[in-house]
Amino acid sequence: MAAEFGEPVVEVRDLVTRFGAQRVHDRIDLTVHRGEILAIVGGSGSGKSTLLREILLLLRPTSGTIRLFGRDVDGFSEAELLALRRRTGVLFQRDALFSSMTVLANVGVPLREHTALADKVVDRIAAMKIAMVGLEPEAGAKLPSQLSGGMRKRAALARALALDPELLFLDEPTSGLDPPSARELDELVVGLRDSLGLTVVMVTHDPDSLWRAADRVAMLGEGRLVGEGPVDELQRSEHPLVRAFFATTHRGDAAGAAWSPK
């Protein structure tokens, strides 16, 4: 599987996370290759978001190593860390748009901070990114609170893409979106990967997303990686947790099947 993608971009080795007595991760190994879309799935509380936060260097694991772009993150100096952050983009679960700024200004924040581009150029590039994620140009002049949830997700994605990151992290990108919007967002992510060569790590709850977007799925459960592989392969897994996850999921009608009376 990995052969068709590039070199490893994210490597997690022997990762252990403990919050007090609670063991969230118990020796997890995970590799993401360049150009790949990896989905991390798992039940609520299985440590998906925690893993993401650790890869983003927002949280320090109890033990284990994380390598980004081939280097151990523990050895990074402050300046290198900043350079690293420029190469990554994050779409947070609750969009995390700065509420005092317009969408256009939000998207412009990383550009203003990390490049010497003139204000006018920054605004143009930001407007281009806003168009890229499928928002109307008028949305750029609005405050995040004036947008719907789906539009805010898109705006947050535009901000995450502002600096053309090589590595994009998406924390539940489709949660809270209606099915057509979720599908569009997935297609957008795949399209961006195809045209920009992004590497994408997404945490998701949405089985449809796995079929539409993910090249590979890593499933967390009981603090370990209980399954890993392309979604059709994973679906045939014998592991009870994986079976439980896919039990109500059939391609295309996941949401309907989960709720329809038997």
Binding site: S100, I125, L143, P144, L163
Partner: protein, 387 residues
């Protein structure tokens, strides 16, 4: 350049050389693009694009074979340049780009992307802004009146149905606003007493009227400073907390959640806080009175050599009960101001989290403003009444 083919541009390792540039190709109607067309290196490019003496031919070739890396921002620059030329009736063909860069360019060439222009935030004119501001003030005033009315309705309902009273929340607020504020109020009142005695003492000593320090500290603290200081501290400490708590709940849709569960925000959030403050602020004022006078006593002893006993004897005969009560009477009024303004501003939070900060500032400023205005009004009324 041994970079993997999947990468369109590896940022950060492109030091030295490779700055994006455009040059004329001598002898041909062609320009050549070279270097890294990536967002972090584009800063000077616009100027060079503008300054380039473009060939005046009908057909121009843009040679991209010298482009080492390109990202969406670089492709955007190229597209806009090409678009500008095409608008002048010149045919442009872009050649020589690596296939993956070609794909990227095709993506950005979509007129929706390459033609994207920022939409300016609509700025209302002067007259409109004055109108809006005025209307906002009027609306806020009317809203505050309605809010006070609603509080009274809730209170009358509580009187008829005492079972609705939220005792637990009330007590919690008493603890938060009252006993937790004791250290800060005690310390500040003590220091205030010290300062007044120190400043006044120097003057009194000059006239040989040392003993009147008790009158000075007593009247100043009991009538004016202790109630005022306490109210201002509580406005900053508790009023701001009311606004921030209620405001955050508003942003989080917790207020809506309360309503849908049949809990009136007035019952749960506002009236318990108001009553708690009306109870605690007079108590805190009494405490501040004592601490302030104590501060004055300590200073009188250190500076003027007046013992505690002498001070208290003079204090008793000089400061009458009405003076003390006039100070205390103001406290519940101040409490009402702090609680009502604090809660009201909390409910006015709308939209995002920055609104919480704005309304909290507004709440503290308005509370303190109103407290001082009302205190002045009290002084006028008391002087009319001759007390």
């Amino acid at each position: 350049m041994n970079r993997p083919r999947e990468t369109l541009g590896t940022k950060g390792n492109a030091q030295g050389g490779g700055a994006p540039d455009v040059r004329l190709v001598p002898g041909r109607d062609a320009v050549e693009c070279v270097g890294d067309w990536t967002v972090d290196r584009l800063a000077g490019l616009q100027g060079r694009l503008d300054a380039l003496p473009w060939p005046s031919a009908q057909e121009i070739v843009v040679d991209g074979s010298g482009v080492r890396a390109m990202d969406t921002a670089g492709a955007f620059f190229l597209c806009r340049t090409v678009g500008g030329l095409e608008k002048r009736g010149i045919r442009v063909s872009v050649q020589g780009l690596r296939p993956e860069l070609e794909r990227l360019l095709a993506l950005i060439r979509n007129p929706a992307l390459s033609g994207a222009e920022p939409v300016p935030v609509p700025r209302p004119g002067y007259l409109e802004r004055i109108g809006r501001e005025t209307w906002a003030r009027v609306e806020e005033g009317v809203g505050l009146l309605a809010f006070v009315g609603e509080i009274f309705l809730t209170l009358t309902r509580w009187l008829r149905h005492p079972a609705r009273i939220r005792g637990r929340i009330f007590l919690h607020e008493v603890q938060m606003a009252g006993s937790n504020a004791l250290p800060i109020i005690g310390l500040l009142s003590f220091l205030l007493g010290v300062v007044i005695a120190y400043q006044g003492g120097a003057q009194l000593q000059y006239y040989g009227a040392n003993i009147f320090i008790a009158d000075l500290v007593g009247f100043a603290m009991l009538r004016e400073l202790a109630p005022l200081m306490t109210a201002i501290i509580v406005a900053g400490r508790t009023g701001s907390a009311f606004t921030a708590q209620i405001g955050t709940m508003q942003v989080n849709e917790e207020i809506d959640a309360l309503r849908t569960m049949g809990l009136a925000p007035m019952d749960v959030l506002v009236v318990p806080r108001l009553l708690a403050l009306i109870l605690t602020l007079p108590l805190l004022t009494v405490y501040a009175d004592a601490m302030g006078v104590f501060g004055g006593m300590v200073m009188a002893k250190l500076q003027l050599g007046i013992g505690f006993g002498v001070f208290l004897t003079r204090f008793e005969s000089a400061v009458t009960l009405p003076s003390y009560l006039l100070g205390i009477v103001k406290a519940p009024v101040f409490a009402g101001i702090v609680a009502v303004v604090g809660c009201y501003q909390g409910f006015r939070v709308s939209g995002g989290t920055d609104s919480v900060g704005r309304q909290t500032t507004m709440s503290v400023v308005q509370s303190i403003f109103l407290i001082i205005v009302v205190d002045a009004a009290f002084s006028v009324v008391f002087s009319w009444l001759g007390v």
